[in-house]
Symmetry: C2
Subunit: 369 residues, 2 copies
Amino acid sequence: MYAPLQNDTFIRACMRQATEHTPVWLMRQAGRYLPEYKATRAKAGSFMGLATNTDYATEVTLQPLERYKLDAAILFSDILTIPDAMGLGLSFALGEGPKFAHNVRDEAAVAKLAVPDMAKLRYVFDAVTSIRKALNGRVPLIGFSGSPWTLACYMVEGGGSDDYRAVKTMLYQRPDLMHRMLAINADSVAEYLNAQIEAGAQAVMIFDSWGGVLSDSAFPEFSLAYTARVLSKLKRSHDGVVIPRLVFTKGGGLWLDAMGQLDCEVLGLDWNVNLGKARAQVGTHGKSGSNAKALQGNLDPNVLFANASQVETEAIKVLDSFGKPHTNANTTGPTHIFNLGHGISQFTPPENVEVLVNAVHAHSRTMRL
Amino acid sequence: MYAPLQNDTFIRACMRQATEHTPVWLMRQAGRYLPEYKATRAKAGSFMGLATNTDYATEVTLQPLERYKLDAAILFSDILTIPDAMGLGLSFALGEGPKFAHNVRDEAAVAKLAVPDMAKLRYVFDAVTSIRKALNGRVPLIGFSGSPWTLACYMVEGGGSDDYRAVKTMLYQRPDLMHRMLAINADSVAEYLNAQIEAGAQAVMIFDSWGGVLSDSAFPEFSLAYTARVLSKLKRSHDGVVIPRLVFTKGGGLWLDAMGQLDCEVLGLDWNVNLGKARAQVGTHGKSGSNAKALQGNLDPNVLFANASQVETEAIKVLDSFGKPHTNANTTGPTHIFNLGHGISQFTPPENVEVLVNAVHAHSRTMRL
């Protein structure tokens, strides 16, 4: 049905298999820093107009691949499509973050929640299939969703937040409601990601963008447990091909030991984390046995505002902090997937992304010599 | 000159000496969640009007002590008084964060920076002396400042920021300018805190509120090194009495090993950190020898939006996560100072603060039995 994969570097690195260079892609690589993206968005009229139109979603997903030698594509969509399908009414004002028409703050609102009919998310699955076809095997396509906890943050707050007061008030005051919402979110995310896999996604990533706002005692109960619930329900393979699963908890660096126990292949890390230490902790076979993870990250996106030579220097610093990936084609071992530690800024000079991608490829090849 | 200290629990805990209960105070304990604070601020007309008036600053510093059995007072002021004294023009619109009239974004602006004349900060030192007198020995008075890096964030951004793009652009593009600014900031903070000590502060705290936005490779160079520079210049005692020094890096939990090497007595921790692990890492004599630190923190301020019994439960959880403090009056050992992991929210119900303070005192006494 689809063309065979020509560049499988990303998939192999996810599976902790040796690669010739360190694969690189960037969170939000299709986005506002690209003039061609802005042109397509202007045609679409709104963010959701863009995300719900198969042709536009395909077009913007492929735009960064035309410019840069990226090793993966990621579905153009948003982490909040599920609560939108639950009827909360997602919108994006120009230049602003997501907003819901309805929020979920009391028992009655939680009681109304249910796993949405996946038919309402058909536009996402259609986009996945269309993008997969358009990629024609160039690089693999990553599907994604927000984590159950991150979805809950937005559902309760009704949008972004500085202090997460509403969602944490519910968490501390009505943990029963919070657990009910998180269970529904987890089952929704699992169905959603499985449908993306069936539609053609070759890897899936769970963005726990707000896991890091939780306390050390609340994180395992309200975020990690529900990420684990999603993972337990995900398809491991499709059409006989393994589907790697990536989990990224922004601000979760202190909980790497616990995250190392997740049933997934890759952990995403932000720029607070030392990649060398993380590799020793969860990236290497040892006391954690077969749970060893591939690691993804973790350049500070603000590095891309520096000069070209400084971008190179900082990219090399990240590669060197991970250290030499294993190179034995016959075994698995520590692998690194280069990425930013968070989404790319809309103000990024596009030419610096090219410098970055090329520096990662060039330096990571020399590291393997 | 001053009345002798009646409740020295906080000071003893800072020095890792045994205490009968775990001392507790709250970051921003004098503030907008108290109706009496709002009344005083209305009289003062503005935040800076409040902070620069000795009588008002004294009044609001003591307000929470009238309500709660807190074990320390903290000077009512702001972390940004130094850049204001440098001429950047600090103001606070009602309900909003700090704003500077001028920011520092280029070589010319950095070249103009200098350690400010401490006479311009006389209002702070006068407030310290006035508060110390008004306290009349009830509890010790903590003086404070922003860290060199945190001051730089506000100076470059001109106020708060979502992404720290301006300050990080300077950091990555012109590290020479950033280092120059940080050196001036460090020397200013040291002079400022020493003057607070001379004016009557019995402990001093450095708030590195934005240390946690730095990458693992940038934190030691751009934040920690300059906090260390401040500490190296601080008075160790005044009038023959030791002055404990506290350092709090919000979001710095991953760098505890490095922070454990700082020449200070106490490390503040946010709610991401597991207190038991932190105690094992930096709170106990061992491989780090005499560098062991007292630990301060780390309740999520949002717990205070729950019901009274839940506030108690969560407070006990924090105390238990640290574990039993040492109780031997003849030696030093692991000690805990209870606090929030960040400033108290302006929306906090005042009655829950009473529940919290009393729960900390009651449970921490039973832990010592």
